[in-house]
Symmetry: C2
Subunit: 411 residues, 2 copies
């Protein structure tokens, strides 16, 4: 009977993904992925929180959603409401929050409600690759909003919206990462936030605000309130514990009016977000979050400085670095003749991975001379070594940079 001749692939739907290779481990210089610094995980705090909350409330694990309903563990939502009120200028309660299985789950649930094939979505010209890809996969027409060093150029958005209106197109959503923009690292100032809200009202387009990195702004950097804090009526707000606590813990959240939040809750099809992830994070964060994040902000800024130094040392004047105002990545530009997509394969061979600009661009042909380098996971020494290896690859392919830390290559 087990003749081995059975063809499991015969009935696969057309267009199914190819069989991938098995996971082979990380490269030596891993500059991709929203990882954090393993040395900054509050291990002891989490161990104590885990033992405490399981002893107190572990019996509830017998019940789906701990018996507390599909919006997520109430103490976690209460912590979040307090925190978002204190730090992001909101005025919400735990009832206004849905816990999601990572922020991608939140993005999916929100776009599920609004975006069908052919629908138009406004999105920053450079943005989170996962959002861009998922919007395109569902057949959305992604219209790029131009960026400068203060985030979206809102006056240009006014023109885009007017132009679309003239063609009878009402976009479904304006997706933005206003606080530590991904990948450019900017923070949108208050006046632009207000103007964007005015445009949302004028054209009847909800704003999908993604604040995954908002906790990680450097000390002393001015951080305006969330757009949702300025106008709860037109904004669906998304956040995450991935960057402030740990990405392997799958916890994101949404803040929205119940007309949207309730529907997202109803459509959440995973039987609830992992309960141990929720319970332990809730107990740890209550009382520890602010202090932990303050530590992170200092340590990550040091790593950012190391990454910028490494790029400047290794690439000299040929590189333009966007110094982010928080977060875990830098956005690095090269002269137009450098196509970083041509460096991907040789860099991988040298043990270096990075995000080429086109992956992080709405127009897949744009930003070929830019790359995103994530700096939170590697040590400072690994950052220096990895950027040096990358410069060496670039020299092999393009003959530049000719110098390494002021020493001529090959000299």
């Amino acid at each position: 009977m087990a003749d081995g001749a059975f063809d499991l692939q015969a009935g696969l739907l057309a267009g199914t993904v190819a069989t991938p290779p098995k996971f082979g481990g990380f490269p030596k210089y891993q500059f991709i992925g929203g990882h954090n610094d393993p040395e900054l995980i509050p291990v002891e705090g989490f161990a104590e929180a885990a033992a405490e909350v399981i002893r107190k409330h572990g019996a509830q694990l017998a019940i789906y959603n701990l018996g507390t309903g599909p919006q997520g563990y109430p103490p976690l939502r209460e912590h979040l409401a307090n925190r978002l009120n204190k730090h992001r200028g909101m005025n919400i309660t735990a009832d206004d929050i849905l816990i999601t299985t990572g922020s991608n789950n939140a993005i999916d649930l929100a776009t599920d409600l609004y975006v069908g094939p052919g629908d138009t979505v406004l999105i920053e010209a450079m943005s989170y690759a996962v959002t861009i890809n998922r919007l395109k996969k569902r057949g959305a027409n992604c219209v790029a909003m131009p960026l400068d060093d203060k985030g979206i150029v809102v006056d240009e958005v006014a023109k885009i919206l007017a132009g679309l209106k003239a063609k009878g197109v009402r976009p479904k959503l304006i997706y933005t990462i206003p606080t530590v923009q991904n990948p450019t690292g900017s923070i949108m100032p208050l006046d632009r936030r207000k103007k964007l809200i005015a445009l949302a009202h004028e054209y009847g387009v909800p704003i999908l605000e993604d604040e995954c990195y908002a906790d990680l702004t450097w000390k002393g950097i001015e951080r305006p309130p969330a757009i949702r804090a300025l106008d709860p009526s037109c904004v669906i707000y998304i956040g995450s514990f991935s960057k402030s606590i740990a990405p392997a813990i799958r916890l994101g959240y949404v803040v929205a009016d119940w007309s949207v939040l309730g529907r997202m809750t109803a459509n959440k099809s995973d039987g609830g977000t992992g309960a141990l992830d929720q319970m332990i994070t809730a107990v740890y964060c209550e009382g520890n979050f602010d202090k932990h994040v303050d530590t992170l902000r200092v340590a990550l800024k040091e790593k950012m400085e190391a990454a910028v130094d490494a790029v400047e040392q290794q690439f000299g004047t040929m590189a333009t670095v966007h110094r982010p105002e928080g977060g875990i990545f830098i956005w690095v530009g090269f002269p137009p003749e450098i196509d970083v997509t041509k460096l991907v394969a040789p860099a991988a061979k040298a043990g270096v991975t990075f995000n080429p600009g086109p992956e992080w661009s709405v127009d897949a042909g744009a930003n070929k001379n830019w790359m995103r380098l994530c700096f939170a996971l590697p040590s400072k020494q690994t950052i220096y070594d990895g950027v040096a290896a990358l410069a060496s690859v670039c020299h092999d392919v393009y003959g530049v940079p000719k110098f390494s830390a002021n020493t001529k290559r090959g000299a």
Copy 2:
């Protein structure tokens, strides 16, 4: 600017779910949902496992998937491979397993690969409501396989497949819950499993085997190997920790050939299953799983007996009860004139919830005189009281049962 006039619902896609009410807590007599017994959660074991594994490996939380790749936490997969080899007759390694965010995630990922609109899927005439609903939602043509007290009547399946072939239809999948069938509680004997495999080969239709309840068979009940153990070539196997450990912990798993498992892994879009759920469960289960499940099997059988007793006491000869061979539910039939869907609203008013037969039926008009009662969550006393309340509701609506525990109602 915050004029409150913004209409968040204007742009919602057609057919979007209605805004649900907020969660209002469980009713007094909750006979729905795959919950377990809160008193049987190994709280201390979990607390110790949590503290231990976080202290040892917590730093890895900084990395997506703990840095161990998208198939799931290796120690959890190793535990599963050992357990499935020992108890379900398999011959697999950790590499053959994908950890999913609950078994529904596994069902979605498998059906994503095979089932498009208009495709045919064979499914037991009575089956898991979530699978039925999700198959119908994706436009599948669900063809019911008849059941008896030994599971699928495989000879009838041969006729169904021949009939479909004559019409040029090759079904995409045969979905079955062979070990503690949901809702009928049967266990498919070895000879039927072998015949089903032969049919899968003859007609080129993969079997999607859902063994969510297979750990919970009563002691002394014969439990044949998993269908996948008998023939790995044609079976995609799904299991869950929800019933054997806890449903609020979101852990399911798939065993399949890499040509399918790899694609499911590539399509898994949640950034990995919750790491604390995985790590803690892995450490607890290693060394404790068998003993814990033995405890569960004894305790759940007692609750099953209580539920059967309660139904027999309260409904007398008007009820037919399928005594399950394991699991957490009984399947109860009434005379044809009783339409249990008419009891749903008055029962809810009396604090009793149950699954009406049509919800658990491929043909939504079938089994109107049947209901599923889940017994793991309520105490034995609550089971008795709840079934008495249900009988009282039934008496109010239909005038039967006339007796309650041999005492005439209203006498």
